[in-house]
Symmetry: C2
Subunit: 230 residues, 2 copies
DNA sequence: AGTATAATTTAGGCAAGACTAAATTCAATA
DNA sequence: TATTGAATTTAGTCTTGCCTAAATTATACT
């Protein structure tokens, strides 16, 4: 109740949220690796986060942690901040999409609720960040999505890119060069089962391109109805 | 050389810069009062700041401190950040000018040089913040100004408002309501020596207004040539 | 079941930056 | 010059969040 959470606990909450939504819970060593601190430090911090009022995590020795409602709310708040800031940096300040993450990582901890709201308004209350990640709403609801990895498509399926993996700047630069951006629509016309390569054509490009699984597993799509009009 | 300065030392540098440009040096208790910490904590911090490499301050017991070149550079960097952010919040995010200070106070410590540069570009490399304070240039030069307190004007002098005191939100709201904003031009038509009140008329308003010294001492102006054209 | 190995926790420390209480120094005045 | 009060500094603590080393628990394999 004494105001803000420390930046350290916010960072823990973010990672725990991510790990828990992926694996159901987060282990000490996963957290340690992600935050680049030693496991002993994590244990220590988790114990504190479980004991404050209200508790941010549920912690039992040797069983990993999960977020309490209070912890999840704080995590979603950070997620909203982070993604709004990324979009703001991209749209308003002209940052390339592979450079927004680092800046957002620092800003997310210090912006006020007022600034969050002002940014959202200037951006037209956006639903997704530059990488297509869904932005939690003002009241911290995270709308469910249906997208799946591009690697699961087979000819002659058509799809629209919704979202790309956002934590690898090299990948992002590469995707941009290829034109694999959110909103782009494409047709798969060949699948090579040996290596999993996909041959695709983007609607707004003439030349087809060949994608390995390093890429197709990091790009997430939805089906789109009907063939491309000629 | 290990990267950034701590937020705490940046805060100390800011205050020392301000006090030193006003009084030539900064005393322990002045700093303590401004930062709302105890004098003992200040002594402690000053000793550290004088001992690191490169030293940020010159410190000798019982004699107050002044900034070294390294300290002054860091202070000006903060000043540039702060004022650019204030202007950005006002111009781009629509903050009222009495609400920018607090947000800037937190953001100034975390923005990158890249973000500083992008904000400056979006704003057209501005010279002054919303309160009229000069923004240090990219290479941290602070251009000298000639403005003086409005309270020193006498009828029938004319002047343009350059800058207002920026640390009192109530004052700022009041000034805005009166129309006493940077760029506004005015004519003084009466001075009351008893209480120092000034009767002025703003060029773009019909009604004259009467200002006490609480206000006229906080508004800074330059002379402007020639009478207002009717 | 019993043991090696990996993961986790405990215990004890450290640095930053705040605090309080006590000691010291400065400055002003009798 | 001696005194007194204010300012400053010293000394010792506290909290946060990290660390290393050692102890413990869990897991997995024979």
């Amino acid at each position: 109740m004494d105001g803000r959470l420390s930046q350290a606990s916010q960072d823990y909450l973010k990672i725990i949220y991510k790990l828990a939504s992926q694996y159901g819970r987060a282990t000490t060593s996963q957290i340690a690796e992600n935050l680049e601190v030693k496991p002993a430090s994590v244990t220590n911090m988790l114990q504190k986060m479980a004991q404050i009022e209200p508790p941010l995590v549920r912690y039992k020795k040797h069983q990993g942690v999960s977020l309490t409602p209070a912890g999840e709310e704080a995590a979603l708040e950070m997620l909203r901040h982070h993604r709004l800031i990324e979009l703001f940096l991209h749209e308003i300040l002209g940052y390339p999409w592979d450079e927004v993450h680092e800046e957002a990582e620092r800003l997310e901890h210090v912006i006020s609720e007022k600034m969050e709201r002002r940014m959202a308004e200037v951006l037209g209350n956006p639903m997704r960040d530059p990488h297509g990640q869904v932005i939690p709403s003002h009241d911290l609801e995270l709308t469910a999505t249906t997208e799946f990895p591009l690697s699961e498509l087979r000819p002659p399926q058509r799809a629209v890119i919704r979202r790309v993996h956002d934590e690898d700047a090299d990948l992002l630069r590469h995707l941009e060069q290829l034109g694999l951006l959110p909103q782009a629509t494409l047709t798969v016309f060949k699948h090579v089962s040996f290596d999993g390569n996909l041959h695709i054509k983007l609607d707004d490009q003439d030349e087809p391109i060949v994608l390995g699984t390093q890429i197709t597993s990091q790009v997430f799509v939805d089906f789109v109805a009907g063939p491309q009009l000629p």
